[in-house]
Amino acid sequence: MKPFSYERASGVAAACASAAEPTAKFIAGGTNLIDLMKLQIETPAHLVDIGALPLADVEETQEGGLRIGALVTNSALAADMRVRRRYPLLSQAILAGASTQLRNKATTGGNLLQRTRCPYFYDTTKPCNKRVPGSGCAALAGLNRMNAVLGVSDNCIAAHPSDMAVAMTALDARVETVAPDGAARTIPLDALYRAPGNTPHIETVLAPGELIRSVVLPPPPPGRQRYRKVRDRASYAFALVSVGAIVQRDGTGRVALGGVAHRPWRLEAAEAEMPRGAKAVTEKLLAGARPTHENAFKLPLVERTLAAALAEARG
């Protein structure tokens, strides 16, 4: 690890002010950041530990949803009986990711902001536009079985690895942030992530020092919920493809995909096709897909995983 100074933040405003420096970073659970710091992929000069901030509660909102503090651990959120009863999709998605040890440390905010697991982002001997802007993308012609097929650019085909974010996207979650100048804003989770384009190193719309305070879930939508994940091992592996589905009796509903893009992938036009079944939905979802020589299997896998998830959700 490169040397850094360490500060345990005592308040939200102080934390944001400290992290506004371009070489500073927030740290919460640290399960992704410390790994990246050991490899010198992340090299913050200053760490602002937000672990002691009062952002670790799950509260009811007036509209009948839940406000999840950014520091609520993945374990605590998945085990919360309100989530298990009203948003089972979210519990299922969280429990489908990582191991218990990691979920016990990983936080809600950190999960959303974790970095890609593209092998070339981790391999510091290879070019990667996300790690070193302008250096090129080794994944395009390399080992790219796990990489994205949607929303990709000639500069980056990295996929976002979160399961939790897929469920939250299907649930219309909103991210509440606060900036160093004190300004608060609410960002639909769908709008948090930036497409790679020519700047794959800029992954979100957050400004330096802007802190995710909480994630708000609107009241649970009608219908049955199901998260289904396909991976290379039965447990503790990232998704090749995952589906978060919410299905009503009449066949309408919502679908978000994981493992296929730089963000959870959801399309209104595809959801309009839901009563017509998985094939019709998939055609819309995968419009414009750009698979590689190694990951074209993801396209039929999306349809099959979606068909299975819809069948399960319908019971």
Binding site: M1, K2, P3, F4, S5, Y6, R8, A19, T23, K25, F26, I27, G29, G30, T31, I34, D35, K38, Q40, I41, E42, T43, P44, A45, D49, G51, S75, A78, A79, M81, R84, R85, P88, Q92, L95, A96, A98, S99, T100, Q101, L102, N104, K105, G109, L113, R131, V132, H201, I202, E203, T204, L206, P208, G209, E210, L211, I212, A234, S235, Y236
Partner: protein, 186 residues
């Protein structure tokens, strides 16, 4: 937490050390350490508690599992300075008055190990697993997450997926955990 290019940070001329008091197995230790030291390295190198093992050092193998405030974590993926005020339990803290913890005894009885390198992490993980199950936590293999599942072998295997055993003693590890969960000696 906004993302930025991984630019090389200017290195401070001297890294200021950081004071932190760690409570490990009920004993308080005052340390003055480089903030880069992980909890795992602090346990092993600064406190000479070498029962906790370094395997992959990247959160994949589980050999470094310790229990912090009642919850199991990978000690390799957290900094020691982040644990002021926390109650940390390592494999050395499980035995009481010279008697093995029931989980340690069950691992011996069921031959839940071969080389033993992953065993401290397996045992710490298993002890915390029982507490999580008692608290009603569901898992990935729980059919209905709104229910509190019975601790079947499938549940145990899924809940232990963060601990890898290169010798593949998995069958006996599951048997040991089941034995303790059932509260008996088999």
């Amino acid at each position: 937490m906004a993302s930025r290019p991984a630019e090389a940070a200017a290195e401070p001329a001297q890294i200021p050390s950081q004071k932190v008091a760690l409570t490990v197995n009920g004993r308080r230790h005052a340390l003055d350490i480089d903030p880069r030291v992980t909890l795992l390295d602090a346990l092993r190198e600064n406190l000479a508690l070498t029962g906790t093992k370094k395997g992959c050092d990247q959160g994949q193998c589980g050999a470094c599992t310790v229990i912090v405030n009642g919850q199991r974590i990978n000690s390799c993926l957290t900094l020691a300075v982040m644990h002021a005020g926390d109650e940390i339990t390592t494999i050395e803290g499980l035995a009481e008055d010279g008697d093995l913890h029931p989980m340690q005894a069950a691992f011996v009885r069921h031959d839940g190990l071969q080389c033993g390198y992953c065993t401290p992490g397996q045992i710490c993980s298993a002890v915390a697993l029982l507490a999580e199950h008692k608290a009603g936590w569901p898992s990935h293999v729980t059919a209905d997450v709104a229910t509190v599942p019975a601790l079947t072998d499938t549940e145990i295997a899924e809940r232990m997926s963060g601990n890898i055993c290169r010798c593949a003693a998995y069958a006996n590890i599951v048997a040991a955990i089941r034995d303790v969960a059932e509260g008996g000696r088999s």
